[in-house]
Symmetry: C2
Subunit: 180 residues, 2 copies
């Protein structure tokens, strides 16, 4: 069942507040981590200072981008007693000029390391948004898809830098919390 | 990174013993379940009595099937204190005559209900094996893919019968335990 057929729809359908359940699997140790969080994804304009600054840093013109957004999260993990966390990041999709289903994703803070990062995305005919990001010592691979208009799933893998091994995998179920 | 490019390879690469970590998400209650198990997937022949019986039940000839196998699992869940479980099922892929990447999957015990079931599978160009199975009161949707030759992931959704809602989702990380 393909809920979202175009990458534009994928971005727009993602806006809103989500209640997330995330399970982390640390493969070498067979360890589980459980995280509950609230995720807010809000659209920004190309004129937003954080968007303009990212575009400037990567030498991308405001006309070349689509659907910039801010993602904020707040939650708690069972990894440490009473550990809560929160954060936010700005993301800017830059579609390939010849193929809107692929592009680069600029962000001011990465998933696996807390530095700016550029990922490569591709939106497949099965409705899955796949994102690859290389970091200094690892690479991240995320697959995100809608199961219904209000339920989104996300699988994130952290690979060793050479891609040969997977160190951790996580699975998130995200349920829309507020009407758009 | 597409590890397994053909459905035949997908079946063959799946044979062996796997250590599985599974996280279940019960979406309505934000409940987590953690399961550790050992899964054995062993090839069978078309002449195996359990395979012959399934073929007979569904009126399928032995020539029409490919890679029949038995899957056995044994594990423990945190759902109940000290709850252990085990089970086994025989599965028989029946490729579509005109398109080997699609077919039916016969099994003598289903995933969501303990009755015989027939699923529909499709193997995509991104290396994901997708399986849909309708049951009386629910339907199951599974996606299985290899991240390395020895690491397999599986996402299973249980949908309401009409497909509009998702009641539970689970994510399994499966690591090969023994050389093939």
């Amino acid at each position: 069942m393909v809920i979202v057929k175009h990458v534009t729809e994928f971005f727009e359908q993602s806006f809103g507040r989500w209640r997330s359940q995330r399970s982390g699997h640390h493969l070498a140790f067979s360890h589980f981590e459980e995280v509950r969080s609230t995720i807010d994804i809000e659209p920004l304009t190309a004129a937003d200072p954080a968007v303009a600054e990212l575009c400037h840093r990567y030498g991308v013109s405001a006309e070349a981008i689509t659907h910039p957004f801010r993602m904020r999260w707040q939650g708690e993990s069972d990894w440490e007693e009473n550990a809560t966390f929160e954060g936010s990041t700005v993301l800017v999709p830059v579609p390939d000029p010849g193929d809107a289903t692929r592009g680069k994703l600029l962000r001011d803070q990465g998933y696996a390391e807390t530095v700016a990062a550029v990922g490569e995305y591709a939106f497949g005919p099965d409705g899955t948004f796949v994102l690859f990001t290389d970091y200094e010592r690892a690479s991240a691979e995320e697959r995100i898809w809608f199961a219904t208009p209000n339920v989104r799933f996300r699988v994130s893998l952290i690979r060793t830098r050479d891609g040969a091994g997977v160190t951790t995998a996580s699975f998130s179920s995200e349920i829309r919390a507020l009407a758009k």
